[in-house]
C-alpha cells in the first residue's frame, strides 16, 4: 500500500488503494482467475435465466419430437421422451450451482468451526482430528451414496451428504493455518493484552487463515458439482424428473450410439463448470497464497 502523498506519475494519478481494491486489481491481472470467473458468470447467467433462454419446459414430453438431433428449434436436440435437452441442461445448471454453493457454504462453516477449535485448543485437537481422519477414510463417492441411501433421494440430502463428505479436508486446512498462525508474535501480543479467546480466534487468527480457506472453498464447489453429477448418474442424487446433469447423462446413456447429443451436452456443461471453478481456484491461490504458486 502506498502511504505517501498521491504521486504524479507520467500519466496517472494513483491514490492510496484499499486492500479489497488491490485484491480485485490483482485478480483482474490473473488470466486463470479471469477465465475461470468469466466461465462461472456465463453458467450462472444461464442458470438464472434458464426459463427465459429456452422456450421449452424441461419436463414437458413431446412424443412427436423424440430423439431429434440438434437444430434451430431444439438447440441441443431432444431426448427419448421428446424433452428439450437445452432447457434441461440450463435447468440442470440451477441444481448443480445450488448444490455446489450450498456444499461450499456448509463445508466452509464446518471448516471454520472445527478447524478453529482443533487448531486452537490442544485438548480438542486429538478427538476432532481423529473423527475427521475416520470420515476421510470413507471413499468419498461411496460415502455419499451410502448417506443418500439412508436419507433418501432428495436434493437437500445431496447437500447434506456432500457436505459431510467434503467438510473434513476443509477442517484440516483451517486447523493447519490456525496452528501456524497462533505461533506468531502478534497473537502472543494480543494474548498479553488479556484478550478473550473468542476475540483472539475470530478477530486475530481467523483473518489470517482466510486465504487457504477461500481457495479450498472454490475447490469444494468443484468437487460438489462433480460429485452431485456422479450421484445422479448412479441414481443416488436428486430424484427424476428434476433435471440434473448427472441424470440426463445416465438416461441418455443407452441411446448414445444413435443420439449422442443427449450425453454430450450435459457432460460439456459439467466439464465447463468444473473447469471454471478449478481455474478460479488456481488463480485465487496464485494471488492469495503465493507460496503455493505452481
Amino acid at each position: 500500500m502506498n502511504e505517501t502523498m498521491p504521486v504524479l506519475s507520467s500519466r496517472v494519478i494513483r491514490v492510496r488503494e484499499s486492500p479489497s481494491w488491490q485484491f480485485l486489481r490483482r485478480l483482474w491481472g490473473n488470466h486463470l482467475a479471469v477465465t475461470g470467473f468469466s466461465l462461472l458468470l456465463l453458467i450462472l447467467f444461464a442458470a438464472v435465466f434458464a426459463g427465459v433462454l429456452s422456450s421449452y419446459d424441461p419436463l414437458t414430453m413431446i412424443v412427436a419430437d423424440r430423439m431429434k438431433s440438434p437444430s434451430a428449434t431444439h438447440l441441443m436436440g431432444t431426448d427419448n421422451f421428446g424433452r428439450d435437452i437445452f432447457s434441461r441442461v440450463l435447468h440442470g445448471a440451477r441444481l448443480s450451482l445450488e448444490v455446489g454453493a450450498a456444499v461450499m457454504l456448509f463445508t466452509v462453516g464446518a471448516g471454520i468451526l472445527f478447524g478453529l477449535l482443533a487448531g486452537y485448543s490442544p485438548r480438542l485437537d486429538g478427538p476432532v482430528m481423529r473423527v475427521m481422519d475416520a470420515m476421510m477414510a470413507f471413499p468419498a463417492i461411496l460415502f455419499g451414496i451410502a448417506i443418500m441411501a439412508v436419507l433418501g433421494p432428495k436434493t437437500v440430502n445431496v447437500v447434506i451428504a456432500l457436505s459431510v463428505v467434503y467438510a473434513p479436508r476443509t477442517v484440516r486446512i483451517v486447523r493447519a493455518s490456525v496452528l501456524a498462525t497462533k505461533q506468531l508474535d502478534y497473537v502472543e501480543a494480543v494474548r498479553a493484552q488479556a484478550a478473550g479467546h473468542l476475540r483472539i480466534l475470530f478477530r486475530h487468527i481467523l483473518p489470517n487463515c482466510l486465504s487457504p480457506l477461500v481457495v479450498q472453498a472454490t475447490f469444494n464447489f468443484a468437487y460438489a458439482v462433480l460429485a452431485e453429477a456422479s450421484l445422479s448418474f448412479v441414481g443416488a442424487g436428486a430424484p427424476p424428473p428434476t433435471p440434473s446433469w448427472g441424470n440426463i447423462l445416465s438416461e441418455g446413456r443407452i441411446y448414445m450410439q444413435n443420439a449422442p447429443w443427449i450425453t454430450i451436452f450435459p457432460g460439456v456443461a459439467i466439464a465447463l463448470t468444473v473447469l471454471g471453478l478449478n481455474l478460479a481456484g488456481d488463480g485465487l491461490r496464485d494471488i492469495l497464497d503465493p507460496r503455493m504458486k505452481t
Binding site: R130, V131, D133, A134, M135, M136, A137, F138, P139, A140, I141, L142, F143, I145, A146, I147, M148, A149, V150, L151, G152, A222, L226, A229, S230, F233, V234, G235, A236, L249, R253, M256, Q257, P260, T263, G267, I270, A271, L272, V274, L275, N278, L279, T294
Partner: protein, 314 residues
C-alpha cells in the same frame, strides 16, 4: 523402526474404531424404523417385529454396537436381505474385481502423471509445459463416467479395438483380463493422472531450484541424470504422500466407472444394494473399503523411509 511400526499401528486403532462406529451409526440414522423402511409399506407388523429382533433393534444402541462389533471382528457382517447370503461372502466375491481396477488405474495415473509432470517442469513455460498443464486442467474437470462413455463410443463401438465391458480375472488370463480393464482404468485414472502431473511439476520446480541440484550440475553430471537421479527422488515425496489418498479416491470412484462398463465389482453391488435398501450390504461395503484405505495409507507412510531416509522413525 519396530517402535515406529508399533506406534503407527496403534495410532490406526482409534481411527478404525471410529470408522466402524460411523458405518454402524449410518444405518441407525435412518429416519424412522430401519426395519420398516427396509420391508416397505406393505409389511405386516409381525414381519417388522421379526426383522427388528433379527437386527437386534430392540436392544439399546451401545448394546447393539458391541454385538455388531464383536461379529464384525469375526468377519461376520450380517446377512444381505436381498441376496439372502452373508454380506462378507458377497463383498469378497466382488472385491478382487474392484481392487484390480483401482490398482491398475493407480498404476496408469502414475505412469502418465509422473513423466508428464517431469517433462513440464524441466521444460517450464515451453510448448510441452503448456500442453501438459492444459491437458491436466481438462483432466481434473472431466467427470470419469463421461470420459468412460466416450472411450466406449470411440474405441469399442466405432473402432472395435477394445471391449466395452465385462470382466476376466487378470490372474487367470492376463491378456484378455488386461484388455477388458484398459478403458475402465483410463477413465478412472485420468483425473488422478492429471492431479499427479500437476503435483509432480510443482514439486520438481521447487527441487530443481535447490542448491544441491546446481552442485550436481556443476560437477558435470548429465542433465537427465541430475533430473532423474537427484531431483526426482526428492520431488516424489509429496507425490507419494498423496498416493494413499489417490487410492481411496479411485476405490470410491470405481463405483461410478463400474456402472459405465457393466463391470461386476463392489460398485455395482453397492448401487444395487442402495436401490433395494439393503443396509447391511451398504454398511459392509463402506466398512471394507475404508479399512482398505486406512491400510493403504499406513503402507504408504511406511514407504516414506525408502524415499526419504531423513525421516527418522523414533
Amino acid at each position: 523402526m519396530i517402535f515406529y511400526l508399533a506406534r503407527r499401528l496403534l495410532g490406526v486403532v482409534p481411527v478404525l474404531i471410529l470408522v466402524a462406529l460411523g458405518s454402524f451409526l449410518l444405518v441407525h440414522l435412518v429416519p424412522g424404523d430401519p426395519a420398516m423402511v427396509m420391508l416397505g409399506s406393505d409389511a405386516t407388523p409381525q414381519q417388522i417385529q421379526a426383522l427388528r429382533t433379527q437386527m437386534g433393534l430392540d436392544r439399546t444402541l451401545p448394546e447393539q454396537f458391541l454385538i455388531w462389533m464383536r461379529q464384525t471382528l469375526r468377519g461376520d457382517l450380517g446377512e444381505s436381505f436381498f441376496l439372502g447370503r452373508p454380506v462378507t461372502q458377497a463383498l469378497m466375491e466382488r472385491l478382487p474385481a474392484t481392487m484390480q481396477l483401482a490398482v491398475l488405474s493407480l498404476f496408469f495415473s502414475l505412469l502418465i502423471g509422473v513423466p508428464a509432470g517431469v517433462l513440464a517442469s524441466v521444460r517450464q513455460n515451453s510448448r510441452w509445459d503448456q500442453l501438459v498443464m492444459v491437458t491436466a486442467m481438462g483432466g481434473i474437470s472431466i467427470p470419469s463416467f463421461w470420459l468412460g462413455l466416450f472411450l466406449i463410443l470411440v474405441f469399442s463401438v466405432r473402432l472395435g479395438w477394445l471391449p466395452s465391458g465385462g470382466y476376466v480375472p487378470i490372474w487367470e488370463e492376463f491378456g484378455p483380463g488386461l484388455r477388458v480393464l484398459i478403458l475402465p482404468a483410463i477413465s478412472l485414472g485420468f483425473m488422478q493422472a492429471a492431479l499427479i502431473a500437476r503435483m509432480t511439476r510443482s514439486s520438481m520446480l521447487d527441487v530443481l531450484r535447490q542448491d544441491y541440484v546446481r552442485t550436481a550440475k556443476a560437477k558435470g553430471l548429465g542433465w537427465w541424470r541430475v533430473v532423474l537421479r537427484h531431483a526426482l527422488k526428492n520431488a516424489m515425496i509429496p507425490v507419494i504422500t498423496t498416493i494413499g489418498t489417490a487410492f481411496g479416491v479411485l476405490l470410491g470412484g470405481a463405483v461410478i466407472v463400474e456402472i459405465v462398463f457393466t463391470y461386476p465389482g463392489l460398485g455395482r453391488l453397492v448401487v444395487l444394494a442402495v436401490q433395494r435398501r439393503d443396509y447391511p450390504l451398504v454398511q459392509g461395503a463402506l466398512l471394507l473399503t475404508s479399512v482398505i484405505y486406512v491400510a493403504v495409507n499406513l503402507a504408504v507412510d511406511l514407504l516414506y523411509s525408502v524415499f526419504d531416509p531423513r525421516i527418522k522413525y523414533e
